[in-house]
Every structure is written in C-alpha cells, then in structure tokens.
Amino acid sequence: MSATNSLPLSLKAYPRLRLPAGKHIGLALALLYLTLLILAAIAPHLLAHGNPYSIAPREAFTAPGWQHPLGTDQSGRDMWTRLIFGARSSLVIGIGSILLALSVALSLAIPGAFGGAVAEQCVKWIFEILFSFPTVVLALLLTAIFSSGTFPLIVAVGIGAAPGYGRMLFGQFLTIRHAGFIEAARSLGHSPAHILRRHLVPNAFRPLLIAGAMGVGQTIIWASSLSFLGLGAPPPAAEWGTMLAMGRDYIAEAWWITFFPGVAIVLTMLATTTLGRFLKNHFETSSS
C-alpha cells in the first residue's frame, strides 16, 4: 500500500532551471581534449615537430615564449614537444593499468556476486582486507618486486588499484543480481545462460564502462605519482610523471618544467571524469 500519490513530494523535485547546455559544453571540451590526446599518442609528429630528446644546452631554462610556447627544460629540450611525445606513454600506462585493475577486480567481483552465498561472504572479506592497504602503498610494495620501468609501473598501479574497483563493481553486481528483472526472467522460465547473456552481462557492462572511463585519469595520477618518486621510466624519458619529477629540482628558477606536465595530467583526469559522469547520467536517466 505504498504511495498512491505520485506527485513529487518535495520542492526540489519540481522541474529546475538549468544553465543552458552547460553540461554539454564541458563534455564537448572533454571530448576535444581526449581526441587531441589520442592523436598525440598515435601521431605526435602532427602536433609537434622536433625531437623530444634533442639537447640544446644553450637554450636551457628558456621561459615560455614565441620560440618555445611552454619553455625548455634544464637541457634545453622543448617542453611542448616533450609533452606531446609523452602522451603516448602516459596514456599507455593509464589504459594498461586500468585494464589490469579491472581484470583483477572482475576476477574477484564476478565469482563473489554470482557464485552463491559462501563465495559472496569470502569475497566480501577479501575486499575488506585488501581495502586496508592503500593503493599507493600496495603499488610501492609491488615496485620492490619488479624494479622500475614502464611495464612494472603498469603492473604495480593496476594491482594496487584493483581492490578499490573490485569493491565498487562487487557492490554494483550484487545490486544487479538482486534486481527485480532477474527474478522476473527466472519466473518466466528462462535458463541461467539466457539470463547471463541477456541481462547480467549487458547490465554489468555499464558500471564497468563508467569505471573504465573515469579510471584512466585516476591511474595516470597514481602512475605519475610513482614515477615522480623515481619508480617509472628513467629520467630522460618523455613521460609526464618523470618530467614533473625532474622539474622539482629547478622549481625556484623554472616553474614551467613542473607546471605544464601537471596541467596535462590534471586535464586528462578532468576529461575522463567528465566523460565518465556523462555516461553515468546517460545510463541512469535515459532508456536504451
């Protein structure tokens, strides 16, 4: 005997004035940035000419200007060129680690959510324990095993981030499993295989997609935080975290060496978050 009165119960539920298309401007900017980023990763020569590694000691520490829009670093290398060429490794690290994180997360979340009561309880405990090791600490421990470099960095960040994503996906999968439409499909007489194919997988894919979209930015931050500590690609590499770390020593004289790689990381994070949010709202409000 629930509410017969279907009118909105509160003031806030009435149609609200919204800034015209403000959300979509953000989304458009995010997509534009991501397109440029992917372009830079695939074909950096289109956006920057020159060699990210060519040293020009005479031009060291040039402030941003006409010649070098974002300035040069301590060895006179052009920052813009280095940033563009660094997009590839940053993106590879971000995407690689989120893929690894999600695979590890799924390998726990799926049996936990769909494997019966005992598995559910076990996985719950596993997440509870793993969750008490912060991502960066876990990743730091793992770098001890694998030493430094791009690939070890991906593994460290991927595994370090897995418990967080695992717990989130686990919760969402449980909601899907207990959803009314799963029971309705069962009561119609559908087989478990059919339910898995038609309901569980497509519905579980949505949170996975959102986590993936939002996660790339986050893993890039974690990875750059580790390469900042010297655990990523070794110094001359055009990798954002490494570049940022190098600039730290010259922060008093040449802020731009540190500033611009950071901006690139922040923009990537904001763009992926915007995209992920859009997907989330889209799935929650619209029909198929």
Binding site: L9, S10, L11, K12, A13, L17, L19, G22, W125, E128, I129, L130, F131, S132, F133, P134, T135, V136, V137, L140, L141, L142, T143, A144, I145, S147, G217, I221, S224, S225, F228, L229, L244, G247, R248, I251, A252, W255, T258, F259, G262, I265, V266, M269, L270, T273, T274
Partner: protein, 318 residues
C-alpha cells in the same frame, strides 16, 4: 519498554567480528610484506651490509644465520609471523636501530599531517556543501571547484604551493618537520583533493536528503531554511563522509609518500619508500603493520561516529 532486547549481545557479536577482522588484516599485512620482499630481486644480505665493499663469505654466512635467512622458506615465514604477532619487529637493516624506535620517531609527523589534512578536508567539504545549496550560482561554482580539486594530484599541488608560497612569496618554509608553519603546505596538498572528493560525495547525499518528505515537514513546522539545512539535512549528508573517512586515512598515508618527499618532511611515507628501495624487510614490515593498525583504529572510530550520527542499528554494518 526496551526497544532492543539482546542489544548487548548484538554489540558483543559485532565487536568480535571487528576484532577478528582486525587480526586478519594484520596477518595479511605480515604475509604480504613477506611475500613481496622474498620475490623482490637482490639479496637481503647486501641490504643488511649496506653496500660495504666485498664482504667475506664468512660474514655473509654469519649474517644469514643471525637473521635466519639460512632456514627453509616456510620456517622463515612462520618465524616472521611469530615475530610480528609477538611484537618483535626486529632491527632495521638500513637504519641500524630497532624498528620500533624508527616508528616512534617517524610516526608522529605523519599522524600530525594526516590529522590536519583530514580536518581541513572535512572543513572544506562541509562549508562547500552547506554554502552552495543557498544560491544556484554557488551551487554550480562549488561543484565545479570540487571536481577540479578532486582531480588534482597531491604531489603536483605540493610543488605548485611550494613554488608560490615558499619561493615566490616567501611566506612559508619550503621544508621541515617542526613547527606549525611547516605543516600548512603539506596538509593543504593532501587536503585539497580529499576535500574535493568528500564534498562531491556529501553534496550528492545532501541533495537527496533535501528531497525527503521530513524536510518538507520541518519547513511546514516554521523552521528557517538554515535550520532545516544545518539541523536536519547536514546530519544525513555527513554519513557517507564518515564511511569514506576510513578509506581516506589509508589514502592519506599513501599520498603522504610523495608529499613528505617534496617538503623534505620526516615521516612514515618517506621512510616506507626508502625502506622499500633498500629492501629493508623488518622496517617495511613494521611500517605496513603500523599503517594497518592505524587503518583498523580509524575504522573503529568511524563505526562509533557512524552510530552517533545514525542511531538506527538495523542494517548490520559488520
């Protein structure tokens, strides 16, 4: 009329589950460090000797015996767990002093840093959420700010703050562990992203709560807008923030690694990084265990806080 018969029993049961969980976490921490450092390349003996040139085979054997490294792996593991459980954390290879002493020395600066960051982050979140619902303009401004804050990497904010306030303006010390002033910049670097994140979560909860019928009832009672927001809605909005704070304590320790580096602060994060790179197993174990203990205590505290804010004990939170 007693509302909850056997509520004492329920509480006891929850406590048992909590303590059991805590033991499991500690056990896992000890195991994790053991596995990690045995898989790690390099001989611990080298680490123990601290790079002293050309040790004689004699010395190496002595050290192996002294640290139990000549035992089979399972025995080493058992010994390791036994030592951890009995509180014998041993001596740090790299620091040449008992691990407990290192912890005693390094923990306070990190705890101070964490606490001040947590307070700052909470302050920002509460302020941002309660202020912004007042005017549509504030709302969009603050929620954009939160998204921006939440996306900032701690180490980058740290460097930018360092550049601006220490080098350009010269207002605050660029490095150091002692004194209130040296705490400001590192705390801000950690608090800004965390505050943004907390605020996002609390804002969502604040908005859903504003749509609840009891808010309408409260207004219909003659309550002012502020009273409704602060006395009713805010309390509901605090709940997800409280649950997140446990996680936040963990994340703060992790992120403290880079921040302590930037500001050349003493602390567990920096020490952990050094210990890992030197394969100093006892010290790594000690620090990880310490972090786990802090995490466990934080989640105890969060549970108690949660019950204070939300006295409904229906849902088993154990």
């Amino acid at each position: 009329m007693i509302p909850f018969p056997n509520s004492g029993f329920v509480f006891l049961k929850k406590l048992m589950i909590r303590v059991g969980g805590a033991c499991l976490v500690l056990f896992a921490a000890a195991t994790l460090t053991f596995i990690t450092l045995h898989l790690a390349p390099g001989d611990p003996v080298t680490a123990i000797l601290g790079g002293s040139a050309n040790p004689t085979p004699e010395t190496i054997r002595e050290i192996r015996e002294e640290y139990g490294l000549d035992q089979p792996l399972m025995v080493q593991y058992a010994l390791h767990i036994w030592h951890v459980l009995s509180g014998h954390l041993g001596a740090s290879f790299s620091q040449h002093m008992p691990v407990t002493d290192v912890l005693w020395q390094q923990a306070p600066p990190t705890l101070k840093l964490m606490l001040s960051s947590l307070v700052l982050a909470w302050g920002f979140a509460v302020l941002s959420v309660t202020l912004s619902a007042r005017k549509p303009f504030f709302d969009s401004a603050f929620s954009s700010l939160e998204t921006f804050f939440a996306g900032l990497p701690q180490f980058w904010i740290g460097i930018i703050l360092l550049w601006l306030f220490a080098y350009q303006l010269g207002l605050l010390p660029p490095a150091g562990t002692h004194g209130f002033l040296s705490l400001i910049l590192p705390s801000l670097s950690l608090a800004i992203p965390l505050g943004g994140f907390l605020a996002q979560v609390m804002r969502e909860s604040f908005k859903t709560t504003l749509d609840q019928p009891f808010v309408l009832t409260a207004r219909a009672r003659g309550l002012s807008d502020n009273a409704v927001r602060f006395r009713h809605v805010l309390r509901h909005a605090l709940l997800p923030g409280v649950s997140l704070s446990t996680w936040a304590v963990g994340a703060l320790v992790g992120n403290a690694v880079a921040v302590e580096f930037i500001f050349s602060r003493q602390g567990l994060g920096r020490q952990l990084f050094l210990a890992v790179s030197m394969h100093d197993m006892p010290l790594v174990t000690g620090i990880i265990l310490f972090i786990s203990v802090v995490y466990i205590l934080a989640s105890f505290l969060a549970d108690i806080l949660y019950v204070i804010v939300d006295p409904r004990i229906q849902e088993a939170r154990a």
